[in-house]
Amino acid sequence: MVWFLIAAGLSIIFGTLKVLNLAHGSLYMLGSFCCYQVTVSLAGVPGNFWLAVLVAPLVVALVGGVIEVFLLRPIYKAEMIYQYILTFALVLIIAEACKMIWGTGYHSVKVPWPFQGSVGVFGLSFPIYNLFLIAMGPLVFIGLRTLINKTNLGRNIRAVTENREMANALGTNVPQVYTGVFMLGAWLAGLAGSLWPPVSVVMLGSDMAVVIDCFIIVVIGGLGSLAGAFVGALILGLTTAFGLYLIPKLAVAFGFILMIIILIIRPYGLMGEPE
């Protein structure tokens, strides 16, 4: 479900800005490192992890804002390939920056109060924090749907997504919406990045591991579709789990096989719309 948060960010950025952000995994990793930094700086303060969950995504959103305004904005009119080169450069730059600041070591964040311990589910003990993560997926999904469908900001986003020139002509500040959407996407990646460390470790290289899964998710679900990202994340998770039960040795390939099948029969993804 954490992957859904990242995929959702990737998807809405593409939907509105038409930018395929290769550096999305890097923003996620940056979120993880920021979360670790805050928990360490505030060690001993009660609820330090939850403060980190508040602060880290905001930091990542700010970084996202800077990227959009200063780097992406000048090249919207250029060919698609320039965006790939730019966002790929960002992958390298962010990874090196993390390495310079936090080193190549591994960092750990403890499972926060009140989610320690586990409960019995079908004879297997299941960590409570993982249940919390599972619940976060639908919550964020509903939150985003409400934001996009019910609020003024959401109306602007939809307008720009639908027809950029028309929205501009009608007085919507398109660049501002672009920046806002990119920051929202970055915030989601940062949120995922700061929620994940308690079940794992913070380390370099997590950016690439994550971004590949997220690309599979958005391809399955349909680029630019929020519901698609949600469904895609569910499908990928289930395929991996079932793949492990059926043919464990080949489970690594299942996500890709699924992606290929979907690309053949529905190239625009399950929830996407043909262009």
Binding site: T104, L124, P127, V199, S200, V201, M203, A209, P248, V252
Partner: protein, 414 residues
């Protein structure tokens, strides 16, 4: 003025640093020139603890040898350089040490990439190079050259063959499920483990092989599968460092360690688990290999060594520090035996070297220049003696855990 002050400050800082890590050349008394050893290691950055403890281990040995009169009346002189975990930097330092400082021996390093670069240069410069940490089997197998010697374990006893032998001696599990990173070392480790173990425990079975993409930190689906697989033991293939910490955290929270036995080859070394405290997730009761369980080795010499490393560096002694100590004595023994520092003659002496070290007898194998360093194994637990989880009920493996000469011939033949 400001400029002079700054220069002075840098000088002072350098001198202080040199004093701390033992860069300062040992004062030479006698008229005979010293035997110089260029020690290249990763002295800066996040994994510098290996380099710092290794240099300290080497320095302890050099000081002891010099205090006892040196080697054939000549003192040993240690020159420490930083490779910054970069093959280019390592190679540059090696060249500089050989050409400018005119060292007689090269030693050190952790990264196999750096070690291969230096080993290649050792061949060209015809200097002996002695490795104290780098583990890649390539160095002594496919890329072997006669100037390179390894005084540490390699990936075979540590990841694959050693754990299999240890499992056959301890848990003797019958139904094993494996989980590995999907890359060369993961696949190789499982193959070695399988080949060795199934020969020793014929009624055992690997019931499933699970793989995750390299670098992945989400093992929850795999852990659920492992818990329901009916296996009585799991084996981790090539998952170490951050991946292993992440796996352990998740396996711990799913109660996997209470459900079945575990074989986690890398869990034994203090470098990964030294920061883990009681109450944190750790590989409970897992069978692990270890390259220097300093807490389990008897004898005053070992206790003294641990104490000195702690005092000099404030760190726990890594296996690199012990290996570096042994390398300095290997130089002493080989040069004494050869009666000269002439490279070709010292190589001959090293090839038949047998040493009695404080961790036990160590023998050099002439065929691949791999010292038969012991590998230890044991069960991961907390005891009141140490603040981190460590192997207990420690056993030792020797030459039997390495590739045999025939196996290496086959590998090189390919």
């Amino acid at each position: 003025m400001a400029h002079t002050l700054k220069a002075f400050g840098i000088m002072l800082a350098t001198a202080a640093l040199a004093a701390v890590i033992g860069l300062a050349p040992t004062t030479v008394l006698a008229e005979k020139p010293p035997i110089k050893i260029g020690f290249i290691h990763t002295m800066s950055g996040p994994i510098s603890m290996y380099g710092i403890t290794s240099a300290a281990g080497a320095k302890i040995a050099v000081d002891e040898i010099n205090a006892a009169g040196g080697v054939m009346g000549r003192k040993l002189e240690l020159i420490v350089r930083d490779d910054k975990i970069s093959p280019e930097a390592g190679l540059r330092e090696a060249k500089d040490l050989v050409l400018k400082d005119k060292v007689d021996f090269l030693a050190g390093t952790i990264s196999s990439g750096v070690a291969l670069a230096i080993s290649g240069y050792a061949l060209r410069a015809k200097k002996i190079y002695m490795i104290n940490i780098a583990q890649s089997t390539r160095i002594t197998e496919e890329k072997f050259n006669k100037y390179t010697f390894r005084f540490t374990t390699n990936a075979t006893p540590y990841f694959g063959k050693g754990p299999a032998l240890a499992l056959a001696k301890t848990y003797k599990a019958k139904k094993i499920i494996s989980l590995g990173y999907d890359y060369e070392m993961g696949k190789n480790s499982l193959k070695e483990f399988k080949d060795t173990y199934l020969k020793m425990v014929p009624d055992a079975k690997i019931i499933d092989e699970l793989w995750v993409p390299l670098g992945s930190t989400d093992f929850t689906a795999h852990i659920a599968k492992m818990a329901n697989s009916g296996a009585d033991c799991f084996y981790l293939a090539g998952i170490y460092g951050g991946g292993e910490l992440a796996f352990t955290k998740q396996a711990w929270s799913f109660g996997l360690y209470d459900k079945m036995k575990a074989v986690q080859p890398c869990a034994g070394d203090v470098e990964t688990w030294g920061k883990v405290k009681q109450g944190d997730p750790y590989p409970k009761n897992a069978l692990a290999t270890c390259r220097y369980p300093f807490w389990a080795i008897k004898g005053e010499q070992n206790a003294n060594f641990v104490k000195q490393i702690r005092e000099m560096t404030g760190l726990w002694p890594s296996y690199g520090s012990m290996d570096a100590y042994i390398i300095m004595y290997a130089i002493k023994d080989a040069v004494t035996k050869a009666g000269t520092t002439d490279t070709e003659k010292v190589i001959k002496a090293l090839e038949t070297l047998k040493m009695n070290t404080f961790v036990g007898p160590v023998e050099m194998r002439a065929y691949d220049h791999q010292a038969m360093m012991p590998t230890w194994y044991g069960i991961m637990r907390f005891t009141p003696d140490l603040p981190f989880p460590h192997i207990t009920d420690v056993g030792m493996l020797g030459a039997e855990s390495y590739h045999t000469v025939e196996e290496i011939k086959k590998i090189r033949g390919k």
